[in-house]
């Protein structure tokens, strides 16, 4: 709240993960000759987030635009190689352990050469392939056409013979004259019939035939012969089912028409001769050519494969190098060029602990690049809010992501992620209490954890990726579910007497009234969890409802109090006394005088076994606080306590509302008066930094705005205290739903199937039971309980202290660059 004092280092050592890492704004001046190497070392380190000092320049105006273009071109070539490799079924080998040093310029030339070679080889192969396919089709035409002509000729000769056989025998008068005339027409006068042969796609063949028929007015003879196996089309390169066709026509005009139609239907035409001798010759010729081409193509493919294999060997390394180079130039573009053009000036955020590492990297870069001048590293002072950086490990990162999904923590504010690690799985387990289901969940997640190394290097599906990322969250959830399952005494909804005998027994040996009046408590309370005797009894539901509802409220009040206490730690950390006195204390009083008191009543009622009605007590505490409680009194002095609490709650509302804005106004006025004296101090700092301060430092103080803000905050808290407590009742609802569902599956499926004394029914019953347990309870219930636990953390817990308006630390790191591109 405009408090500019440095955050306090606490009395005790700082807790890991509780506060984000201390950050500093650093300036590095790098001589231009060592800038590239410096960036490469810093990228390996990955602990510096550069600020864009050229935000006003477009990407093309920047210093290294050209290099970035080159990198983009190389990346494109690499993508082409990758595409070719996947087509050829070659998998790029994993990163070699010993990396040979590759020069960027050499690599660029090499990539260019390889691309040209590959393109040429591909083009040649394509051409050859096309010719090969054409020849194959030609071969088919020759075969089918030959068959056709042969069969036609044999039929013709048969006919001829028949006619001849007829003629001498009955050269009688009744033989038709016209026919004879026709038969005997002079061969020279015969119209020469032309023919065209080729292939047409099978699905077009009908239309093709029809169009030909219409176009030539029926003056064609078409013969089509389907081919058994689909052939590769030379033009498109796809497998198509085709027909061989032969068209007989007469006249040049008809020929022209037919040719056009062939073209339109994509029918490939091939020359054909009637002469059988020639045909044989051609078949021989074509098959020879085909064999020849086949070997040529095979050699070409082999050549391509060797090229690709060579590429695959080093592909990952090159890819990484190009990505790194691109990110280096990208980062260099964010630095501002010094006036003398001899050095680059970088500004950025780094964690304080990384200072020595960064300086070391800078020195190493200076040494390795044989630069005359070293880089200059200095810390700048700024009032800008630094980025938030939590050092997480594989266990805590998933929990931190749960918090980050709501909002990134403000710089160094208390991180709810710490408590989320325990309370999140705990609240989940309250809703998912069944140690059988918990064990299933645990086995599933242990499988993921055991195979962690193997799975983390693999590419998983979307859902699997999510499960794998949250494996430790699921493990914690499963562990707590087993615990709460033991408390609820449910193993797939079946209770066990694990911790001694039930506390309840029949009143008398005959057990006559056990179904009407009920059992009585004869022993000490069941030591751990819910008494097994409750299961299946008629009073189970009323008992569990009452228990789980009260438990939800107790847990909720405890967690909300934890949230308010965290706001105290935030206030002391940022040395904000106002927030302690005028926010933390009244909030604590308000919540506890209403719902803390309710929790107390619940516990007292349990301990004393009182019959009093808690609803009545709470309602009349507000409606008529001075009335006697009568039979609802739980302990002496309750009325006085209620009055005091009510007054405290009423006082704490204006306490939250008014003092803070007024005091802020006073503080601002005091600072404003003294400003003429304090302004001089800042002249020591560099001009650049001072410039950025100005916008933040002299903020106008709008009283009305601050007051409205505080009013909203107060109303939100007061109403929220009620609605948030009610919201915790979802714990009751979901836990009840879970236990009822699992009881239904157990009784109505498994026990029912068992009752039939039939193996087949039993097996079907077991299958249905397993499917329902996995599908409904383990998947859907897990999801819904997860979401509700998530909400309870994001809203009910975090709104008590968490601002979440920070921004995440995004360092320049090669590891992250690789991940982004995937």
């Amino acid at each position: 709240m405009g408090d500019l004092r440095e955050p306090r280092r606490g009395c005790c050592p700082p807790m890991e993960l509780m506060r984000s890492e201390a950050m500093q704004l650093v300036q590095i001046i790098i001589p231009i000759e060592s800038s590239h190497l410096t960036m490469s070392y810093l990228g390996n380190l990955g602990l510096l987030q550069f600020k864009d000092l050229n935000a006003d320049k477009s990407p093309f105006q920047r210093t290294y635009a050209n290099q970035i273009k080159r990198c983009g071109e190389m990346a494109r070539k690499l993508r082409l190689f990758k595409e070719q490799m996947t087509k050829a079924g070659i998998v790029p080998s994993a990163m070699p352990v010993t990396q040979t040093q590759v020069d960027f310029d050499d690599l660029e030339i090499k990539l260019g050469d390889l691309e040209a070679e590959l393109i040429e080889v591909n083009a040649n192969n394509e051409k050859l392939q096309r010719t090969y396919n054409e020849l194959l089709e030609y071969m088919l035409v020759l075969q089918k056409g030959g068959e056709f002509f042969q069969s036609a000729q044999s039929r013709a000769t048969a006919q001829q013979r028949e006619i001849e056989a007829h003629q001498p025998g009955d050269a009688s008068l009744d033989s038709p004259l016209l026919l004879e005339q026709e038969m005997l027409t002079d061969p020279s006068k015969q119209v020469k019939l032309g023919f065209i042969s080729g292939l047409v796609p099978k699905d077009k063949s009908m239309a093709f035939e029809r169009i030909l028929f219409r176009a030539t007015r029926g003056n064609v003879f078409i013969r089509q012969e389907p081919i058994d196996n689909p052939v590769t089309d030379p033009v498109s390169g796809e497998k198509v089912a085709k027909n061989v066709f032969i068209i007989f026509y007469s006249g040049e005009r008809a020929k022209a028409k037919i040719l056009k139609i062939c073209e339109a239907f994509g029918a490939n035409r091939y020359p054909f001769t009637e002469d059988i001798g020639k045909q044989m010759q051609m078949i021989l010729e074509v098959s020879g050519k085909i064999a020849e081409l086949k070997t040529t193509i095979d050699v070409g493919l082999l050549h391509r494969d060797t090229i690709l294999k060579n590429i695959a060997h080093q592909f990952e390394q090159w890819n990484q190098l190009v990505r790194e180079e691109k990110s280096i130039y990208h980062t260099l573009n964010m630095l501002s060029l010094d006036v003398t053009k001899k050095c680059l000036v970088a500004e950025g955020w780094s964690p304080v602990f990384a200072t020595t590492q960064i300086q070391e990297a800078l020195q190493r870069a200076t040494r390795d690049s044989n630069s005359q001048v070293g880089s200059i590293f200095q810390v700048l002072h700024t009032r800008e809010s630094p980025p938030t950086y939590f050092k997480t490990n594989k266990f805590t990162s998933a929990f931190q992501e749960i918090v980050d999904a709501y909002g990134i923590a403000k710089y160094q504010e208390a991180n709810p992620g710490v408590f989320t690690i325990v309370t999140f799985p705990f609240l989940f387990a309250v809703m998912f209490g069944d140690w059988g289901h918990g064990l299933c969940l645990l086995l599933g997640t242990l499988f993921l954890i055991v195979r962690e190394k193997k799975l983390s290097s693999q590419k998983l599906g979307d859902i699997m990726e999510m499960m794998f990322g949250g494996r430790y969250v699921i493990m914690m959830m499963a562990l707590f579910s087993i615990y709460t399952g033991l408390i609820y005494n449910e193993f797939f909804s079946v209770p066990f007497e694990l911790f001694g005998k039930s506390a309840y027994a029949c009143r008398d040996p005959s057990c006559s009234d056990a179904t009407t009046v009920g059992l009585i408590k004869v022993r000490r309370t069941y030591p751990f969890g819910v008494d097994p005797e409750w299961h299946g009894s008629r009073s189970e539901l009323p008992f569990l409802n009452s228990l789980k509802m009260k438990m939800s409220i107790l847990i909720g009040v405890a967690q909300m109090n934890l949230g308010i206490i965290l706001s105290y730690f935030n206030a002391t950390f940022f040395r904000n006394g106002l927030n302690i006195w005028y926010q933390f204390i009244p909030q604590l009083i308000f919540l506890n005088s209403l719902f803390g008191y309710l929790s107390l009543l619940i516990i007292v009622k349990w301990c004393t076994g009182s019959q009093s009605d808690l609803y009545h007590v709470m309602i009349y505490m507000f409606l008529s606080p001075t009335d006697e409680l009568g039979e609802n009194q739980l302990f002496p002095g309750q009325k006085t306590l209620q009055l005091v609490l009510l007054v405290l709650a009423l006082i704490s509302v204006p306490w939250m509302l008014f003092p803070k804005p007024l005091l802020l106004k006073k503080q601002h006025q005091e600072r404003h008066q003294g400003q003429t004296y304090t302004a001089l101090q800042s002249t020591e700092e560099s001009l650049e930094v001072d410039h950025s301060h100005d916008s933040n430092g002299h903020e106008e103080f709008e009283f009305s705005e601050v007051f409205v803000h505080q009013m909203i905050h107060t109303i939100e808290f007061v109403l929220g205290a009620v609605s948030n407590t009610a919201s915790y009742l979802r714990l009751w609802a979901l836990s009840l739903a879970h236990s009822e569902l699992s009881a239904v599956f157990y009784e109505k499926v498994l026990l029912l199937a068992w009752g039939y004394n039939n193996v087949i029914i039993l097996i079907v019953g077991i299958i249905v039971f397993v499917a329902a347990t996995v599908g409904v309870l383990l998947v859907m219930e897990t999801l819904s309980a997860f979401l509700h636990a998530l909400r309870l953390h994001w809203v009910e817990f975090q709104n008590k202290f968490y601002e979440g308006d920070g921004y995440k630390f995004a360092p320049f790191s090669f590891v992250l660059v690789g991940e982004e591109d995937e």
């Binding site: 005790c12 807790m15 710490v418 705990f426 008992f543």
Partner: protein, 69 residues
């Protein structure tokens, strides 16, 4: 086992868990503090859950009424 005895067991388990964590993965003060905080939070959560269920059954207002069959 009464309320206090079991509570004591919870405290003992919590302390033992925290100490064993301190002994077996000692990774500096701030990490230890985180570990101990987590163990204490977990112990408190578990104890609360148990205590609530135990207290609720201590002086029962309703008793199990068996369903007649």
């Amino acid at each position: 086992m009464g309320f206090l005895v079991t509570t004591l067991i919870f405290v003992l388990v919590g302390v033992v868990a925290a100490l064993s964590l301190l002994l077996c993965c000692n990774r500096g003060v701030s990490t230890n503090l985180l570990h101990v905080t987590l163990v204490i939070t977990a112990a408190v959560c578990c104890w609360m859950m148990w205590a609530i269920v135990y207290l609720a059954q201590m002086k029962p207002l309703i008793v199990p009424i068996l369903s007649g069959e």
